[in-house]
Symmetry: C2
Subunit: 351 residues, 2 copies
DNA sequence: TGCTTAACTCAACCCACTTGAGTTATCAAG
DNA sequence: CTTGATAACTCAAGTGGGTTGAGTTAAGCA
């Protein structure tokens, strides 16, 4: 955008914008991106964010592994790292994260000072809740203030979030949506809710625990997670743990068990879609996370969209359900996106 | 609060606060509320909002009636009016609303200029959706820009909302909660969701359509609204339309049909509570609206709270479910509260 | 009685932003 | 090719909402 255009959209004078641009340019956060073509008057000098003006660190802590990534200001992945973990004990996690950070900085030639902040993803729910002890929480972290711990160790501002919320914010950056629900395939099934561009986190950051919501099946009500999650495919197939590539291969060859599971998953998803649409009135519902892209696409294509829904309207410009980013690193990249999102969106302190 | 206290909590200098207070006092929005007692130093002059500094108009349009109210800046009801309506045709509604406003102004001796804005409540969902034509929407309003229409007719800023959201905001003012879900008994069952002090409205303002969410019953899944709403009591009792007083009387005398209905309602509410808690992680869930207070209290007392919930935690300072304001005017007062809420909370324009 | 504490005022200052006039580069009509 | 309209941009002076720091007042406490 040019100065005048920015000024109009911000309600400032062009002079003010000029001053601010000069400052940001000096700090290396903005770069000229060429002159505007066509139109009357003096051609406007265009500006854009300098992708190298700063970097965001993303950290995902899993029970058995740590994933890290660095994104630039354009949201492009600069470098990623994965490391297995013997035990998720806080002290070990912290030292491993520091090591991975240093490795990534060394490899890319970046300095610690160029990191704007760190997004940290950990399995929720946070604190002692009625869902604790179901295997989804992280041993040794129940009574630890994780955000403060990382903040001190990394000497960076930290945003703590669960996997689904982080992945949702990454998708928000990519698609520019303001209202959506994000169904995230992790160990179980997570949900990120974005309303007016802001995450709906709940009072303790535990919003979006959709996995335990019951859905109707021919055999009676079952938790959504029992029909729509990686664990549920694996149990349905009965071949033990399978990684994304293995699931993708089974899907590609049209494996009977897989297609069978998909039938049940589509039925469950259809109910979840109805629920989410009627509760949140989103622009769209996005599926993403640790699932093969083909499976996500199949779910999107074959899920029956409920008619009894506020989203069943003729003037809806978005697909009601769509596939987002897939793969194992989705949440890690989303963690870093939390920092970018914070840097780029205005926050009002609510009373 | 005194100047120094305000300055600290706002991060401004005392001088800046002094200047602003002087201005607000001149405009009649602030009044001195006496000196602080006890403590060292010069006793602080306390200030509070002048309840007579402005007034908010609340309008609720129903298929067969119009309710209006005026609240002062403390949220106190100044005057209310009800008028039946033969047809909810836009032109008739507008002229009736103007008449009611003038009546209320005349009765209280207020002037039009003292009204800060109007909150308007209409039955949702807004626009053509998959839930249209189910009897909940208002004839003649489907393709009308209601907000603009009221804005022009009343020459006031207008906030348009559905009944549940409006009632939720009224409750927010009263209880000072930042995260909660509000189950509102209207014709059907509405839901208002507040996260970080802001309403979760969805992209078209239709969020919170919980009435059609299925819940499990011994006879198979039924819409929540079929078990937990005024219509459902009436159908269960089979005595035709009953007003709040009649329902309250039946409840007081322990009517068999009523207690029977309450059993089913509690079971349904229990499931709804689990759903809302796991999706939103609220501080509390509030029941309110057009139901006798006794019935709301009974529901709160006898609903089994699900254990499999993120809200089932020892350190939760709030009751998980509680009763809010009951009665027929709840949403109307909530409409006016929308204006007060807007006046008192900072809004960040999201990109 | 005198010291400490704290709220508040006064007056000078600061800085982000606006205002208004002037400059430059492009398009389009004569 | 010339001329005028259009639009982005710069320069320099001005403005207002805020800060800063010193001084004033009134209460509690030793």
């Amino acid at each position: 955008m040019g100065r005048a255009e920015i000024a109009r959209s911000l309600g400032l004078s062009t002079q003010a914008v000029s001053n601010i641009i000069a400052e940001l340019q000096e700090d290396g956060l903005l770069v000229e991106t060429g002159l505007r073509s066509g139109g009357r008057g003096l051609p406007a000098m265009q500006y854009g964010v300098n992708s190298a003006g700063g970097y965001a660190l993303g950290v995902e802590v899993r029970p058995d592994a740590i994933f890290t990534a660095i994104l630039d200001l354009h949201g492009q992945t600069v470098v990623t790292r994965r490391r297995t973990l013997k035990s998720p004990e806080p002290a070990k996690v912290i030292s491993k994260v520091l090591k991975l950070r240093d490795e990534m900085l060394a490899k890319t030639g970046l300095s610690e000072g160029q990191l704007l902040g760190a997004g940290v993803v950990m399995p929720g729910p946070f604190g002692q809740t009625g869902l604790s002890g179901l295997g989804s929480d992280l041993a040794g972290w129940q009574s630890v203030d994780a955000a403060a711990l990382f903040e001190e160790a990394l000497a960076l501002p930290v945003e703590l979030s669960n996997d689904a919320n982080a992945a949702a914010m990454a998708e928000r950056m990519a698609l520019g949506l303001s209202h959506f629900a994000y169904l995230y395939f992790g160990a179980g099934l997570g949900l990120g809710i974005v309303n007016q561009g802001q995450l709906v986190t709940g009072i303790f950051g535990n919003a979006g625990e959709i996995g335990h919501v019951p859905v109707a099946t021919p055999k009676g009500p079952l938790p959504l997670e029992a029909l729509l999650s990686r664990v549920s495919v694996q149990e349905h197939l009965g071949k033990g743990p399978l990684d994304i590539a293995a699931l993708g291969a089974l899907f590609a060859e049209g494996d009977k068990g897989m297609m069978d599971w998909l039938d049940g998953a589509c039925a469950a998803l259809s109910q979840a879609v109805g629920l989410l649409e009627n509760l949140f009135d989103p622009q769209t519902i996005i599926l993403g996370g640790a699932m093969p892209a083909g499976v996500l696409d199949y779910l999107v294509a074959h899920t029956e969209l409920p008619t009894l829904s506020v989203s069943n309207r003729a003037d809806n410009p978005h697909a009601r359900v769509q596939a987002g980013a897939s793969g194992r690193m989705t949440a890690t990249l989303g963690a870093a996106a939390l920092i970018l999102n914070r840097a780029f969106t205005p926050q009002a302190a609510a009373l």
